[in-house]
């Protein structure tokens, strides 16, 4: 077990180095650079060149790469070129916004998807199962940004229940109720889409378990439906959810980018889009690494948990 974890961690480090090289190379191939964005469109050529030289953007890309990596190894994430602030403090400011959005949607989706998946598996081909199937197909297929716009149209424009975007009403200072009102719609979008996928997944996993011999045995020896369902079936059917959580992470990163953009939610996703258009290299690199680490850690954790939950699985 210990050796397995060490090997996986070493692989993860190599993977992250690979990602950093690819992304760094891609940014350097892109036309335009941060100096142009920092000075605006009316800046003259000489000023741009001077700023580029000052920032070290005129050096070959590999020198810049090693310079950044050197900074990182010393525990310094670098300074944003555009915002002229330490990257670490920018990330720390944005992280809670994205964490509450993603964390909230994961918890809510599990809470909703679990009963839905179980019910539609137990009552396979019933009316409620058909309704769930249709709704989950819709949920899987709907583009998140469009769902967001439609919700804004419904809840903000027509009903005036919720604000159209942002994290709090400007000029009022922080107020929990106000913040939750702003959180509601982006949270709803992410939750609806994730619930659709997960309940469908859980349904098929539950159906597979219900067809197993040990479930028939449990029924045959006279256990109540409740015990068979919860103690014998559900425990085994839940296992794929663990993997699913690990595998959903890359999608979650993407989902956060789009949803935060639609609702003007100033989290890490929105920062990704602005930093990319501004070519703010230290910020982009930090964001890519952050999501890379989250994904690698999520996958590793899912594999480890899988081994803990299911003793039949041996990790080596």
């Amino acid at each position: 077990m210990g050796r397995y974890i060490i090997r996986r961690l070493l692989q993860a480090v190599l993977l992250l180095v690979g990602i950093s090289v690819i992304v760094f190379g891609m940014i350097h191939l892109a036309p335009g650079n941060a100096a142009e964005f920092a000075l605006g469109s009316r800046a003259n050529e000489a000023d741009i060149l001077r700023l580029q030289h000052y920032l070290g953007l005129d050096k070959p890309w590999y020198q810049q790469y090693f310079q950044l990596m050197g900074q990182w190894l010393r525990g310094n994430l670098g300074t944003s070129i555009i915002q002229e602030r330490p990257v670490a403090s920018i990330l720390l400011e944005r992280l809670p916004r994205t964490a509450e959005l993603l964390g909230g949607s994961i918890v809510l989706s599990l809470l909703i998807a679990l009963p839905i998946g179980v019910i539609s598996a137990v009552r396979q081909y019933s009316i409620s199962d058909h309704i769930v199937t249709v709704l989950s197909f819709l949920g899987i297929s709907v583009p998140s940004f469009w769902l967001g716009i439609i919700l804004i149209l419904l809840f903000a424009v027509d009903l005036h229940w919720l604000p159209t975007g942002g994290t709090e009403t400007v000029g009022q200072g922080f107020n929990l109720v106000d913040h939750l009102k702003h959180l509601a719609m982006p949270l709803l979008v992410l939750t609806l889409i994730r619930t659709a996928g997960w309940s469908r997944y859980l349904r098929s996993s539950m159906l597979e378990v219900l067809g197993q011999d040990y479930v028939r045995t449990a029924k045959a020896k006279g256990l109540t439906a409740r015990v068979v369902l919860f103690r014998h079936s559900l425990r085994n059917a839940i296992m794929p959810i663990i993997t699913l959580l690990g595998l959903s992470l890359p999608d979650m990163v993407g989902g956060a980018i789009i949803t935060e953009q639609v609702f003007n939610w100033n989290g890490l996703g929105q920062l990704t889009v602005t930093a990319t258009t501004q070519r703010d290299i230290p910020v982009i690199m930090a964001l890519v690494m952050l999501s890379g680490i989250a994904i690698v850690a999520g996958n590793l954790l899912a594999d480890l948990l899988y081994g803990v939950v299911d003793p039949r699985i041996k990790l080596h």
Binding site: Q11, L15, G18, I19, I22, V23, M26, I27, L29, A30, P31, F137, L138, I140, S141, V142, P143, S144, F145, W146, I149, I150, I152, L153, V157, P250, D251, V253, G254, I257, I258, Q261, V262, T272, V273, T276, T277, R279, I284, L287, V288, S291, G292, I295, V296, N299
Partner: protein, 306 residues
């Protein structure tokens, strides 16, 4: 529907060849799969609607001149849907219906083309890794893992910033970054198929490795490839729409379903129809592809009795 059936000849009990006569027309596998797919009403609905949408969009130059996409009617900006402009007019007074049809051409072509490209790359790499194993597999598997770990959308945003966004470049980007899931599936299938006796037999009679891999193994792993390819198509429609929505994909004035929504959000209060129609088209298309993919998965499942 007699095409697609073969006839088997039953040799009579006496063993005389002359007594052989066609008795039972036995359906071929392809015929059975088609019949099973056609029995799935949702899949058929998906297939029909998708075919209709494609026919409408791709035949557009025959019945809807391209000028409608770009012509700005100055005194009709934000005109609501009418007989003249079915989906209304946008902020420049352009016909939103014509833009949706021509945008659909681009969205469908980009997502279909990139899905085919990703399927080809994924199949080739998965096949090589699964067939040869050893160090070839080790290298390819690492590359697959790298591409699976990179957050897809983040990568698309970066890639779209690198190259000047155009229909072709977005197609290539989606195809280049989308193959990893499929490669992993194909690799697994090939590793499983590698153990079978008929592969050993093919090698023993002296078939070259491309012949063994392509003629003998590939047909047996086609089912998961087709299903995964279909789902890639669905995913790429959304992905293209997403990066175009962010302003990094297909660039205006060229329309795509995604970039029609970019500005529509700003006018959603006064002209909601500008946001509703392109989004509905994306939803319907992706839904149909997903229904079709689901139906194909069931129809192609070898574990289900024929």
């Amino acid at each position: 529907m007699m095409v697609g059936r073969t006839e088997i000849e039953v040799v009579s009990a006496t063993g005389s060849a002359a007594a052989a006569q066609p008795l039972l027309p036995l359906p071929t596998r392809r015929f059975v799969i088609a019949r099973r797919l056609l029995r799935n009403r949702l899949a058929v609905l998906g297939l029909l609607v998708l075919a209709a949408l494609m026919a409408i969009c791709f035949s557009a130059p025959l019945w809807l001149p391209y000028e409608h996409v770009l012509t700005q009617v100055r005194d009709a900006t934000f005109a609501p849907p009418s007989a003249a402009a079915l989906f209304g007019r946008d902020e420049f007074g352009r016909d939103a219906f014509a833009r949706a049809v021509y945008g659909g051409r681009i969205s469908l072509w980009v997502s279909l083309g990139s899905a085919i490209m990703a399927t080809a790359i994924g199949t080739l790499l998965g096949m090589l890794a699964g067939y040869f194993g050893g160090w070839i597999d080790a290298i390819i598997d690492r590359i697959i893992e790298l591409f699976l770990t990179l957050p897809f959308l983040l990568l698309l945003i970066l890639a779209a910033a690198v190259v000047r966004p155009s229909t072709t470049s977005i197609l290539l980007i989606l195809g280049f970054f989308g193959w990893a899931v499929l490669a992993r599936i194909v690799r697994g299938e090939f590793i499983a198929a590698r153990q079978r006796d008929y592969i050993l037999a093919a090698e023993v009679v002296g078939c070259s490795w491309p012949r063994v891999a392509i003629r003998h193994m590939l047909p047996n792993v086609m089912a998961p490839i087709i299903v995964a390819g279909t789902l890639l198509f669905a995913g790429n429609i959304t992905a293209e729409a997403a990066i175009s929505f962010l302003g990094l994909g297909i660039q205006p004035p060229t329309p795509s379903w995604g970039n029609m929504l970019t500005n529509a959000q700003d006018y959603v209060i006064s002209s909601p129809f500008l946001a509703i129609f392109p989004g509905l088209l994306i939803l319907i298309t992706v839904l149909c592809v997903n229904l079709l993919g689901d139906g194909l998965r069931d129809a192609l499942d070898p574990r289900l009795r024929l």
